[in-house]
Amino acid sequence: MTRAVPVTFAVLLAVACGDNASSPTSPTTTTAVTELLIGSLSVGGSRFYSFTLSSAGTVSVMLASVTSPITGSPVAKALEIGVGVPAGTGCATTTAQSAAAALTSQMIVSLQAGTFCVRVADTGELTSAVNFALRFTHP
């Protein structure tokens, strides 16, 4: 009788911690895709880049650099960055903000599956053309 308790405990432990006969469920992780929009932005200009989300998820946008096309030096000017839907000859943004270049995500947006775009534009601060690098990550 004194052995019954450890034996019973061992059985319970085996049941609780034993191998499950059923196969483990596959994780539903989605690989994130990072894309770059790099180019020149003229005074008053805008650029956009279209992409497709096969499933709902989060899009993060980072204006990584704004530089002079002549010297290559950083330019301390904010640009407008935004996320929206391609429409007409542009990108109709549903979320937009002014941002200075930084090595961190300035915008995070949750979107459903579909076709979207990121846009970068002059806020009115530019007095000459600049080069820019916009990095965005999506599912």
């Binding site: 880049y49 279209s50 839907v85 391609p86 429409a87 579909g114 076709t115 775009c117």
Partner: protein, 138 residues
């Protein structure tokens, strides 16, 4: 008596004529109900595109209605396509080389989503061309 009335009312409610629910699927496809104008200037060797949203499954018609320019005859052939916006371009899935006309040069059935119409020089332009097109879609 009250019980009988209630039973009768329940019987009527349970067996009465149901108003049919409208189906939520489109089986034949909607006709083009929205018309968008796509006009611009095309550089020699260049391309341009216009994005539009199809709200429900149906027919999309794209018509290149006019081509012109100082050194561009109105009979000039251009590339015309329908596809999906991708990157900084429109990746066409259906395309033709065509002259301007009044009849749709491209027609297709598309499900709801974002699409684009693309116009490009197929090597005929000696200078900038102005063009007009219409995109009709559900």
């Amino acid at each position: 008596m009250t019980t009988l009335v209630l039973l009768a009312a329940l019987a009527v409610a349970g067996c009465g004529n149901d108003i049919p629910t409208s189906p939520t699927t489109t089986t034949t496809g909607a006709g083009a109900s929205i018309s968008e104008a796509f006009a611009g200037t095309l550089a020699a060797g260049g391309f341009t595109f216009y994005s539009f949203t199809v709200s429900t499954n149906g027919t999309v018609n794209v018509t290149l209605t006019g081509v012109g320019g100082a050194v561009v005859p109105s009979t000039t052939w251009l590339g015309l396509g329908i596809g999906a916006p991708s990157g900084e371009d429109c990746v066409t899935t259906s395309a033709v080389n065509t002259q301007a006309g009044s009849t749709a040069q491209l027609t297709g059935t598309y499900s709801a989503g974002v699409y684009c119409a693309r116009v490009w020089d197929i090597g005929n332009l000696a200078g900038p061309a102005t063009f007009t097109a219409t995109i009709a879609h559900p």
